[in-house]
Amino acid sequence: MTNDPGPDREQVQREVYRKVVTIRFAELRIREHVEKEGFGGFWHPGIGQEGLQVGAVSAMQDDDYLYYAHRGLGYAFAKGMPLEPLFGDLLGRANGSTRGKGGGTVHFADASRHVLGQGGTLGSNFVMGAGTAAASQLLRDGRVTVVFFGDGASGRGTWHEAALQASVWKLPVVWICENNGWALSARFTEQSPTEHVADRAPAYGMPGVVVDGQDAMAVHDATAEAIDRARRGEGPTLIEAKTLRIRGHYEGDRQPYRDDPVLGDEIPNDPVHRLGESIPDDVRRGIDAEARSQVEQAFGAALAAPRADRSVIFEDVWA
């Protein structure tokens, strides 16, 4: 699904729209569930950030590797994972991709789709991702690794170690920072000495790109360019997508610390609307209806699935 060659732009945008709107419905369905039924674990809503997630991942090839972040399901769904195992993970069902092991919203994986997972300690993705890219370099498999992370995670030392090495070795990796302005209760502007995370790129001799994260196609294009660069052997790029954290850190967070207008349900510059604008109304309504029913059906199936059996506890410790 790179930019060029490939399906024409309109088709790409329509597909991005379809995925974004599907995830939006998933977000709403999950929120409803968490509010009504409670939830074992932490659900970090990604509502409003789906556009950048789907836009970026849509620029990846099928066999490129993905390390996602904790904010929602957009990354994995965009990479082709079906909804049912994702919901299954969330609900601790046996049909989840991790069968109750990872779950929460935090961990899911799909080896066949090169969705490699996520570390529960922020910033561990940096070194993992650089290593995956080093393997691709060794194997000459032509794959690129894409690593998502938040503005908060950008402060971890693993960034520095991974980014220096990736740059010197010209590893095929693309770093995508979702800067939503907050790391839990910490404002980005109070935790960063520079205006942008991307301002740090020159220290690592790599391009730094700031892009409007509400503009899914802009993120798609920036990512496509960075992926091409990486695939050509020219090394990593740091992309910073500016976005907003609409809800609390986790669903249920009352955000006592938040002194900007708490956004609640309004999504400024909503990627769903933005992407939808150029799609004919009837087509869009068709996509929406299809997405909604897909979400309902998958969520229902996950709810109906049995919980993981206790025997799984002792499985997968060793190969």
Binding site: G40, G41, G92, K101, V106, G157, S185, P256
Partner: protein, 341 residues
């Protein structure tokens, strides 16, 4: 505020109130910061938010942003910076959001905190407290739920507290802050909402290295910590009608360890079982078992047994997670079998 009898609470005299474990920790922090202005705190989200588990609520307002500092996501700085700040005459009390994150600052904990004084010929003290929300809490997953206190016990130079009650949480934290040595303070997340009597006094300080007999008994000694103490006591109550009188001992600190109290108990009961949430293999239960048989081998009528967390990572699912740590039922069953040997 109520006054309870010393017998009921195990606390000598004085006025007491029933408060939560979280509140007890919050009070200890506030009181020690009032007492000594060299005491200060840093960590993620401890200020404006009052901590991910709410432990530091209100402290920013009282003590201001230089003494209650929100850091970025930088565990090596939180711990290593605390070490450096201790060398300059302050007393940092820092929070990692989850005890598991000690691995993201392990060089700072196991090298800088534990060894700086030693390596530099004893010229400095290292009065740092690292607060570590520990244990399973209901779906936090493999990297947010571990009980890692044994590792801290193995590496010389660190004191280790594992409070199981509000009173101990408060009294041990105050002792930790007053201690010139580095202390890893493992708070159990599953106990944050548990309430219990806590002495009113500002000088409620529980000394390190003194075990608490949570329930006296004569037939079998059970050593348990943290969340397991209540389960062990509950198990003991279930066993009592069956003629098995269990003594439950909570060591409260693992370094220093009050092995004398445990050995004295075993010399009376002739049987020992250690219960812990941490993974079984090479957990601190092994150390206690080994020390007891070293010191009281001929007093033992049966092997020392362990009831422990599984040798697996912790699954995220809250039901599976509970299946990985000892339940009251398991403790009951094991105690019955051990008493029958």
């Amino acid at each position: 505020m109520t006054t309870t009898s010393a017998a009921a609470t195990g606390v000598a005299g004085g006025t007491e109130r029933v408060i939560g474990y979280s509140r007890a920790i919050n009070e200890a922090l506030a009181e020690e910061m009032r007492r000594d202005e060299r005491v200060w705190m840093m960590g993620q989200d401890i200020g404006r938010l009052g901590g991910v588990f709410g432990l530091t609520r209100g402290l920013l307002d009282e003590f201001g942003p230089l003494r209650v500092r929100d850091t970025a996501i930088n565990e090596t700085f939180i711990v290593g910076g605390a070490a450096g700040a201790a060398l300059a005459g302050t007393i940092p009390v820092v929070e990692l959001q989850f005890a598991d994150f000690l691995f993201t600052a392990a060089d700072e904990i196991f090298h800088k905190l534990a060894k700086w004084r030693y390596m530099h010929g004893g010229q400095f003290t290292m009065p740092v407290v690292v607060r570590l929300p520990s244990g399973v809490v209901g779906g936090a997953g493999a990297e947010h739920s571990q009980s890692l206190e044994t590792i801290a016990m193995h590496v010389a130079g660190l004191k280790v507290a594992v409070p199981a009650t509000p009173s101990d949480a408060k009294g041990l934290l105050k002792a930790a802050i007053r201690d010139p040595d580095p202390v890893l303070f493992f708070e159990h997340k599953g106990l944050y909402r548990v309430k219990g009597p806590v002495p009113e006094s500002d000088e409620h300080v529980v000394p390190f290295g003194s075990a608490r007999v949570a329930r006296p008994g004569n037939d079998l000694t059970v050593v348990a910590t943290g969340l397991m103490v209540d389960r062990a006591v509950a198990a003991a109550e279930q066993l009592a009608p069956h003629g098995i009188d269990v003594e439950v001992i909570d060591p409260r600190t693992l370094v220093p360890l009050d092995i004398d109290t445990i050995v004295a108990s075993v010399e009376r009961t002739h049987r020992l079982m250690v219960v812990h949430e941490a993974s079984r293999t090479a957990g601190f239960g092994a150390e206690i078992a080994t020390q007891v048989q070293e010191r009281a081998f001929f007093a033992l009528d049966a092997p020392v047994w362990r009831v422990c967390g599984t040798d697996t990572p912790l699954p995220q699912d809250p039901e599976l997670e509970q299946a990985c740590i000892p339940s009251t039922d398991e403790i009951v069953a094991a105690a019955r079998a051990l008493a029958a040997i």
